[in-house]
Symmetry: D2
Subunit: 144 residues, 4 copies
């Protein structure tokens, strides 16, 4: 079983659109927060520090795929369960499952997102360029 | 050739993250704006009016798939070309291609998003519930 | 002493701008969440319900005034203490104080916001128009 | 007369809240974009370049004051007129006036914001610290 972490989100009024439901890009925003929270809960230092010590500035996305099954609205608390589904040489696949507790104790799946991410560092020559780098072994070990 | 519309976005400082590049959920936000812009450029009235006249409150997403190829940053102007790639009975697939003009006159593909959307209306019994409805023929005709 | 509630926020990577600090409109977003959280912690039903039972759709802002004293960044937890500083006939003044715990047990003031808000309802004739209404006595009693 | 620039914003569906009107922190976001647009229209290079050449990383806010007079909604185009109202030794006051054209050719004031901002640079010793600096004479000359 891969390591899995949990991140909770309380949906606010401003997260919702004129239809009264969560404006969907917020789910991407929360999955990104859950992604970072995953690394920090696994013991990886914040990008801010890794940028200085190892040049790693983050894990930008190469691809996202999200399926929405139920709407959510403000006043609700959502739970995001996150794990890495696949580690490849230069990319990894992170999966986020967002659910809401039902009154009967069960849970509703709100949406599920699959993200392909890569670790990137600044280019030695041109600091404005970001370059993909191999998945660092120590980070992978912490997160598996 | 399906009908295609263009929507432009000027990337702002606040759209970018500590790595200095566009925080990716903003691409979803812009694609959503491009989606609505597509319908309005095709002559479909705003949801606000359709909610009153026909009960249609919008076209929420069932699924998104976005591939990111290049980063973008503030001060840049992006172009989003939008069309409907496929009309099914109850859903449609909208494609957004976000590009940036290069100095040499060519264009860089920043990302491409594929959205599965459905038209929804409020449930007659429970106004808080949204229900998927068949794609309206007149709207499809305007947008093809 | 007026009633005061506490709302916490975990700053995420995407909340920060290319300077690496919280993009300031997010403070307004969090204060709005703290404002709603205040009402809910005081026992006021969500606007969604009040819209149906009493026509109240929310407490939009007439004016905001925020002073920023220190920057905050991702990975930090912020605390928002909220109270109503003044109740007038048609408006009220809500104050939000955002702080961060220091390692020495003290707290840093990040910013303080003062919001003038009014309760609004939909106009009986034109449902698209929002009208300010007198502060409801029962809500005021719950929140004082 | 101080130099004034104009920045336009097309309000999107996702900029609006469940009451169907612009979620107010978006006005702060747009004023920030108008602030940067002001500097760029005045001929000041982007912060990204100034960070490298002169260490200037931006003009964070010390205080904002915004008065809201009318609501705006999606499908509307807003105009933001921006000027610097006051230059002091270490700070400047920037004013943004957001209006909407009426059908009769007049304009509605949506809101007006007054921002106190300072130029900041990274601390020489501790690159994570930002320090206020005197308003650069050349930038002031370009913007007056």
């Amino acid at each position: 079983m891969p390591r899995s972490t949990v991140h909770t989100v309380d949906v606010t009024f401003g997260d919702c659109d004129p239809a009264g439901i969560v404006f969907f890009p917020n789910f991407s925003r929360w999955m990104d927060a859950a992604s970072l929270s995953f690394f920090m809960q696994c013991g990886v230092p914040p990008w801010r520090e890794l940028a200085k010590t190892r040049g790693i500035v983050g894990t930008p996305l190469l691809e996202i795929n999200t399926r929405f099954t139920k709407a959510a609205t403000y006043g609700e608390r959502l739970t995001i369960a996150t794990h890495v589904d696949e580690w490849r040489a230069k990319v990894f696949v992170q999966v986020h499952r967002i659910t809401r507790l039902r009154a009967d104790g069960g849970e509703d799946l709100i949406c599920e997102g699959r993200e392909v991410r890569a670790f990137v560092m600044r280019d030695a020559q041109d600091g404005d360029r970001l370059r993909a780098m191999p998945v660092p072994d120590d980070i992978r070990a912490l997160c598996s």
